[in-house]
Amino acid sequence: MSYVPPKGPKRGVSIYSYSDLFSIGLTLEDCFREMQDMGAHGVEILANSHIDGYPELTDEFLEKWHTLCEKYEIVPAEYGHWIDGRMWADRMLTVDEAVAYLEKDFKIAHALGFHCLRTKQTVINGVLDPVENWRDIIDAATPAAEKYDVVMLPEIHQPTILEQKMVDDFCEYIDKTNSKVFGLNIDFSVFSPQPGRQGVRYSKPEGLIPYLPYVKCCHAKFTSMVPSDDEYMFREEWIPYPEILKVLQDNNWDGWMVAEYEGKNRDDEAHLSEMLHQHQILMKNCLGY
């Protein structure tokens, strides 16, 4: 790989931001080109969305992937995938079935150069608690995860916030098992007091500090950008980016922050590009690079 990323918090983009255009014909190369324009070198792809031929990994896609990463200086940051526990309407996926699906993804992710996986678990209620046997699934998937050198990261996302039992349960599991294949992905929505969306509980940026050893990747969520007269040039209307990124930098966190645009008009090319550019400028001005 020609591009060598620096240590510290790094800027990237999740192709999820392009979903509404990708599904009607925007290509991976179109996305990579814009990421290079913005100096956002880390990419998150969603397995079920952005890999031609999924659930198989074809030689054609593998070659295209490596060619595009090289050409546009893109580094695989995070691979999004799912445990579709309610795949069938009449019964839940068994542990063995879940592990078989996970292993397929581990193999593809590894071949594409990903280490971090955003692993979506099956949830059982409105506050997004995972299935009761989540530990059994992670235990059973651990040998395969070690074999393919990947780390599974449940995403902590509103309405879940940092100060919630689920998050402590995940950390306790990691401490107890000394797992190297399980960690956390923090979606910046946990810091958003935006009312009327999914509740108004939210975490403070300093609340992140004790969790940082477990955090392997972040979703740089944004929904609304506003101009700012200060050195940042733009602000996210609800999410305190300068404070969050300062916590990451001051505590020597090393990893990718992949941009997830979840605001209006995602199917409008010009608007989407403008939002992505404003958001990258904000992060660049926070980090100083």
């Binding site: 969305s49 659930p55 579709d84 209620n125 997004l128």
Partner: protein
């Protein structure tokens, strides 16, 4: 490229038997979900054209995905076949004589399961038009001209 609407104009046509008799019609459907789905995640409901209903389990409605034709019941039991979000499903409906030349109001009710969302969001009932799950309407419709 695909059209932004779920029901695609390109692909709306009658289908014929070997003798040239119209035996039904078909149209292409794309998913506006941001990820592709396993066929068993698809909750396929009825097709409605100009008020005439073709029920999912009537034997008159099939979905063609990846070149293979499935009844909704076959999709519900499927294990391992996948519908990429960048490809359309062809919805094929048996109707002797097909659809007449002119405008038709074409609709299909359907949804998908998303296991990372609260289970109550997966409620799906195709008896009436309603919101089924986050970001999914259970009814896709479009007025199109049959030639």
């Amino acid at each position: 490229m695909l059209e932004k609407e779920q029901i695609q104009y390109r692909g709306f046509r009658n289908i014929y038997d070997g003798q040239g008799n119209a035996v039904g019609f078909e149209f292409r459907l794309r998913s506006t979900y941001y990820r592709g789905v396993w066929l068993s995640q698809i909750r396929a409901g009825r097709v409605i054209v100009d008020g005439e209903e073709f029920l999912a389990d009537s034997g008159n409605v099939t979905w063609i995905i990846g070149g293979k034709e499935y009844t909704p019941a076959e999709m519900a039991k499927d294990n391992g076949h996948f519908w990429p979000m960048t490809e359309t499903a062809v919805i094929r409906v048996k109707k002797p004589g097909g659809l007449a030349q002119g405008y038709h109001d074409v609709a299909i009710r359907w949804a998908w399961s998303s296991s990372y969302m609260p289970p109550e969001m997966e409620y799906f009932n195709d008896e009436k038009e309603e919101r089924a799950m986050m970001r999914a309407s259970n009814t896709s419709k479009r007025r199109m001209l049959m030639v």
